[in-house]
Symmetry: C2
DNA sequence: TAGGGTCATGCACACGTTTGCATGAGAGGC
DNA sequence: GCCTCTCATGCAAACGTGTGCATGACCCTA
């Protein structure tokens, strides 16, 4: 059986379908009694307006498309939670797509978004290159990038304040008395990595500590990468006493490599992560890390997008502050180290 | 500027818009030359068919709605990854909605799905009660429940084989020589909890071990719940030597409670979880647990839904096997225990 | 009582697609 | 040369909603 349409309601109420349309939208053209009467009938018959028909005539879909590399990435999941929450409050729906960092998949995703006429797109932590950025910019849909890894001035963005946060995290290690501080980054050199490395470097320089190239390890943002990079650092003749990691996943891998060699955290080595994933507090020991306000960043991305849609003027490039969360993976270095 | 429509393409190609429609869909009514010519023109002008217009006439939206309690829940995230992957392969899009277990939010979600005329709905790990189930069953959209907590025969479902998996997990502890084995469940007594408890009970009975009520703790599926329940177990005059937890989050909380008292895992206590969340391997020590094939369950839910849509006959209630993953959180009990 | 003004409602078109049916052009058989 | 058949294409309606404009009822004023 067909779903009830606006015309069915009109027949039941002995009015024209335009009156029903206006009544349901609360138009001031319709008398209050008619409005309540029609609304009652609509509710009784379980009427649901067709979003497709509406968007066909209004050319707005009340839908935003969200691209993540993988929703199984806890960072992305938290961001999407914030996005969906903010979208829901404004009666927007969220279409989710995983890119898996596969170029062909990215293409399909954008195409699907265009066909569905999403009102806007939010892309989180994209690592895909210039080609994709160009593709995105060609589509006429407003776009907000969240922690994007390819700077592009013409788009709106929400970013974490990488430099200041990394400097603070490194300073924390310096304050504890560490002098041999390593950094495990992301070998693909995305923007976050560059900025976090700069913060690390800046803190060391501020403390007149040397930047030793052998203390700069290269992971890939995953635990495996952190494990491998940490293993190399530990094989050095004079290993570091503290390590600042590009992100928590890298830190988890590093911690595993440390434990595998029978070393203790923080007695033998201090570790600092970045993100404050939910699991950071359950690591052994609980991980000192920089908290990214992931949900708020998601919410902010939605607000930024809606401003873009409404045409209201706003700051296009938003920076959110990170917050250092000190737990038990950091301590002063041992005397004999 | 308006997006190019099928009529714009028709004008460019000097044909009627119906010919364009058929050509793009590859109808055999249109000559091959015309098809390639029209497709070329459409590609050149960046034409994207309007999903809204199409779904208006076909009354199919190529969209499935997914309800999760929270996408930040790692279990839900993995499931959704599988869902989105399978959906993408069939050219379906996924609309994601978080219920946060709030009844009013549930209502809004279902309403939004109905308005968007989703072809089907997948609900994962729903804990909401009979009212919601009734609401769901009233909507005429096909529904597949994944690890649902309220048995309802009339709907399709994908479930983990709780009983067998729990029995196996408990048997693993029995095989290690444990005799005082506790279970930390979910106080809200959802279906998964009941089934897992039954598996635990069945294994103990098989080994002629007594079921001691003081060894049945009540968490709530979160780490806090596990922490509290474990604390009570440890306060017993004769604490257990092994604990089987309702899920990994509960196990993480239990491990924290154990560590807080200076006890060691697995020397003093063995712990088994359920889910095999990504983080289980990084716990201290890495957690022995039952793996749920979360992504495959998500994929299967999509296939089940599409069968439902196509009207093809299939098994409505699918059960997936769990797999015991033995890591380092379980060992034989100490002699003096 | 005629005219103007306000208010509530209806008419008809538009949005972009799919699809049943009609149409027109050839080709082939008688 | 006419009829029929096939093949490629066009016409027009339909899906469900929003909205500019017209319409009709009613009231008020002169």
């Amino acid at each position: 059986m067909r779903r009830a349409s606006i015309k069915d309601i009109a027949r039941l109420a002995n009015v024209s379908h335009s009156t029903v349309s206006r009544a349901l939208r609360g138009s001031s053209l319709i008398s209050p009694q008619t409005i309540t009467r029609i609304r009652q009938i609509a509710a009784d018959s379980g009427y649901r307006p067709s979003a497709a028909a509406r968007s066909l005539v209004t050319s707005r879909s009340a839908t935003i498309g969200v691209v993540v590399t993988s929703i199984a990435d806890p960072f992305a999941a938290e961001v999407v939670l914030g996005i969906e929450d903010a979208a829901d409050q404004r009666d927007y729906s969220v279409i989710l797509a995983n890119s898996n960092a596969q170029p062909d998949r990215e293409m399909r995703v954008v195409r699907a978004f265009e066909e569905r006429r999403v009102d806007g797109i939010i892309v989180t932590s994209s690592r895909v290159g210039a080609v994709y950025a160009e593709l995105l910019s060609q589509t006429r849909v407003p776009i907000v990038l969240l922690n994007n890894q390819h700077p592009s001035e013409f788009m709106h963005s929400v970013m974490i304040e990488n430099l200041a946060a990394s400097r603070q995290a490194t300073q924390h290690l310096i304050d504890l008395g560490h002098k041999r501080i390593a950094y495990i980054g992301d070998r693909f050199g995305c923007q976050s990595d560059t900025e976090r490395f700069n913060g690390y470097q800046s803190a060391l320089e501020g403390a007149s500590l040397p930047i030793r190239t052998e203390y700069v390890g290269y992971g890939n943002g995953t635990s495996e990468g952190g494990d491998a990079a940490m293993s190399e650092l530990l094989a050095l003749p004079q290993p570091p006493t503290a390590v600042f990691c590009y992100n928590d996943m890298t830190a988890f891998g590093a911690m595993r490599a440390i434990a595998a060699r029978g070393l203790r955290i923080p007695a033998d080595l201090s570790i600092v992560g970045f993100d404050d994933l939910f699991f950071a507090q359950f690591a052994a020991p609980p991980l000192t890390t920089v908290r990214q306000p992931m949900r708020d960043m998601g919410r902010l991305a939605v607000e930024s997008l809606l401003h873009l849609l409404a045409g209201t003027q706003t700051e296009p490039n938003l920076k959110m502050p990170g917050e250092l969360i000190v737990r038990q993976s950091t301590a002063s270095p041992q005397e004999n180290a």
